[in-house]
């Protein structure tokens, strides 16, 4: 009872805390009502589309905003899963960004090649290859951990930089993937061909409408849950995550689990890169390679989502909504300085990570209620942390 409650309540309290402190920041910096700011952010996310009483122009705008929110949510779900899966094996995969980048590079090249292929086959091959690339990239860290014990935090961070600079070279000035047609000289690749583009099911395909990658990400959530909860592999991964020594003693091949957990993690991140590229980016440019933060947001998503499929779904929705809701177009600059708007996302994200890191404090406060006599003793096991579920 308690554990279940703690599993849901802690992230909720964490998010609530972050928003309240974020609201205080709004008051301190703008002197404006934080509730109206949050209202504007909420409208900017497009989630008001879900309300039946929103109609007319507002509904049209809400639809556009919601498309963009879900467009960002899809890769966040996947990079969140990439971190969460490794976490369940006791590994901290900070390399989501590098795996994502490798996925985008492979997807763009595959999308340019095979131009004569029929659409479904072309999309499939691009997605599969990008996913594999992500798996291989993370697999390197997995192999190193499994064989020589090199810590994955170090190796994945290093692999991030390698991916960043190799991709920068490839798409940058004079790089082999740079678009050199028609006298173009900018550091980006040519567009992928039409047959590799994911179909758009909501919105204008020309104007970054919502593509079917969203459903691919949802499917990945299901795969994540099935693999972890309903397969031997998942059982072993979780066993290693709980206690590697005990798992080894009970006959589980721990190095194999390390490797597979990392590879599967990387596959999720590589898939994220593939759907972003095939869904709306269509080409890769230097600023995307250098400034993308999707993989790093995945860490916060996994933390807030407590490494579960359902949690990752909601956490990615929260972060995508924040990212999109605080965009300059959602907030009236005469009320809210556009620079501040962007930083508010980072503040709330930072607070979420901070509070999740301090979840022991939340648990302590939770238990302190009893000492204050606010609740009875029933059902409470002192000193027990809520397990990830």
């Amino acid at each position: 009872m308690y554990q279940r409650a703690g599993g849901i309540v802690t992230p909720l309290i964490t998010a609530l805390f972050a928003f309240v402190v974020g609201g205080l920041v709004v008051v301190a910096t703008t002197g404006k009502n934080p509730l109206s700011t949050y209202r504007a952010i909420f409208d900017g996310t497009g989630l008001n589309w879900l309300f039946p009483w929103v109609s007319g122009v507002a509904r049209h705008d809400a639809a556009l905003n919601l498309q963009q929110t879900l467009l960002v949510m899809a890769p966040l779900m996947l990079t969140g899963l990439a971190v969460a899966f490794a976490f369940r094996c006791g590994l901290f995969n900070i390399g989501g960004q590098g795996q994502y980048t490798v996925g985008t590079v492979v997807a763009v090249q595959t999308g340019i090649w095979f131009a004569s292929m029929p659409k479904p086959a072309h999309i499939l091959i691009a997605i599969v290859l990008a996913t594999l690339a992500g798996a291989v990239w993370a697999g390197i860290a997995g192999v190193l951990r499994a064989t020589v014990g090199a810590h994955e935090v170090i190796t994945t961070i290093m692999l991030n930089w390698i991916a960043l600079w190799v991709a920068s070279y490839l798409v940058g000035f004079g790089g082999p993937l740079q678009d050199k047609r028609f006298g173009a000289v900018n550091p980006n690749t040519p567009d992928i061909v039409a047959s590799a583009k994911l179909p758009v099911f909501w919105g204008d395909p020309q104007l970054q409408g919502l593509h079917i990658g969203f459903f691919i990400a949802l499917a990945a959530l299901v795969v994540f849950w099935i693999v972890l909860s309903r397969t031997t592999l998942g059982y072993e991964v979780r066993a290693v995550g709980f206690n590697a020594e005990a798992a080894r003693y009970s006959g589980i091949n721990v190095p194999r689990s390390y490797f597979l957990a990392m590879a599967i993690s990387g596959a999720f991140a590589g898939l994220a890169g593939a759907i972003d590229l095939l869904g709306w980016e269509f080409h890769l440019d230097l600023t995307v390679v250098q400034s993308s933060q999707i993989g790093f947001f995945g860490i916060a998503v996994a933390l807030l989502g407590r490494n579960s499929a359902v949690g990752v779904f909601f956490a990615s929705l929260v972060f995508a909504a924040l990212l999109n809701g605080t965009s300059a177009r959602a907030l009236d600059p005469s009320i809210f300085d556009p620079q501040l708007a962007g930083n508010l996302t980072r503040i709330i994200q930072g607070l979420v990570v901070l509070f999740v890191g301090a979840d022991l404090l939340v648990v302590y406060l939770w238990q302190a209620r009893r000492k204050l006599g606010l609740v009875g003793r029933d059902g409470l096991e002192p000193g027990k942390e809520p397990a990830a579920s």
């Binding site: 002197g31 000035f173 000289v185 550091p187 980006n188 556009p338 606010l374």
Partner: protein
């Protein structure tokens, strides 16, 4: 205890809320706003000491001097480029600027959907960056070679009057066309003032324009070849080179915006005045929105004021005479009597 804390926080928030109500914003409206203009900046932020900042500065001038109602859409991630452009067009802004050549692709897609809105892409080349050739987009390009020529000419004059070898150099971040053009003009300018001079041109191969260490390394290399003046054409990367020039007591030349604030060791800066381009373009729009031409590249140069050189160091000997000579050259360029080479 938790609920106590929460209640306290909530109270503070509502207190703040009511304070907010007291100072509720009155809608600021200029007297007779007729025109609306928006600037969409690219990834990098409004304080990037470069492109985005300059475009935003131009917007503020347009608001103040031309009476436009303006708004800036600060793009934080690449996913926001297109939605921001679209939002600006939808919100009724008649003139929409996109800054940086990465705006080419979103402009190409958004512009055809809003035929009544005029778009302008700063550093977007209409001929190469917009495959679908939307009729309502104007590319804005700069003749960087003219700015390079002016500062090169000044560098040549300085080389001639000071003792030491007649060697000047320039450092580019990478081979983007703008830098190649700066280089071409710079070399020709130095040679024009001092035909005996040697000009060393090197690239730091920094795709990011921000790696100071790389430019510093190249600067050290050039200093070992006895350069006297370093022209850093490399954005943030160039700051590393200018720093090194300063440490060695050599002249540095800034780029794009006026970088004399870096210190008196800065000879001058080659100006590519994005703010002015935004201003002049908006002015042209205000004169007659119906006749505002699109579907071509508007080129900014010395003649129309989008290109020039910045303030000159107070430490320079014969400062007035040198400025006079450079201004004479500037007039010749404006008149088309001197055509600086583009590479």
């Amino acid at each position: 205890m938790l609920s106590v804390v929460l209640a306290a926080l909530a109270l503070t928030m509502f207190a703040g809320a009511s304070f907010g109500m007291v100072g509720a914003p009155t809608v600021r409206k200029a007297a007779q706003v007729t025109y609306k203009m928006a600037v969409i900046t690219d990834v990098g932020g409004l304080n990037d000491h470069g492109f985005n900042q300059a475009a935003n500065a131009g917007r503020l001038q347009v608001e103040k001097k031309l009476g436009f109602q303006t708004r800036v859409y600060d793009t934080r991630t690449s996913a926001e480029r297109l939605p921001n452009l679209q939002a600006a067009a939808q919100a009724g802004y008649q003139l929409v600027f996109g800054t940086g050549f990465f705006m080419g692709d979103p402009l190409d897609k958004v512009a055809p959907k809003f035929p009544d809105v005029k778009f302008a892409g700063i550093d977007v080349n209409y001929n190469t960056d917009l495959p679908s050739k939307p009729a309502n987009v104007r590319g804005i390009q700069f003749k960087e070679q003219e700015a390079g020529y002016l500062v090169g000419y000044m560098a040549g004059l300085v080389l001639k009057q000071q003792p030491g070898p007649d060697i000047a150099s320039a450092i580019g971040a990478n081979t983007v066309p703008a830098i190649v053009r700066y280089f071409g003009g710079y070399r020709a300018g130095v040679k024009k003032a001092d035909p005996k001079a040697t000009v060393i041109l090197s690239y730091a191969n920094d795709p990011t324009f921000s790696d100071q260490a790389k430019c510093k390394e190249v600067a050290l290399n050039q200093i070992s070849q006895k350069t006297q003046i370093i022209f850093a054409v490399a954005g943030g990367c160039g700051l590393g080179a200018l720093d090194q020039a300063k440490a060695q007591g050599l002249w540095g030349i800034g780029v794009d915006s006026d970088q004399l604030y870096l210190g008196p060791e800065m000879l001058t800066s080659a100006l590519k005045d994005v703010a002015k381009a935004v201003y002049l373009t908006s002015q042209e729009f205000k004169k007659s929105p119906a006749n505002f031409k699109t579907g071509f590249n508007k080129v900014f140069n010395v003649k129309n004021g989008g290109i020039g050189y910045g303030k000159v160091s107070a430490k320079l000997k014969n400062r007035a005479a040198i400025i006079k000579k450079v201004n004479a050259i500037k007039k010749l360029i404006a008149a088309g009597k001197i055509v600086p080479p583009a590479k």
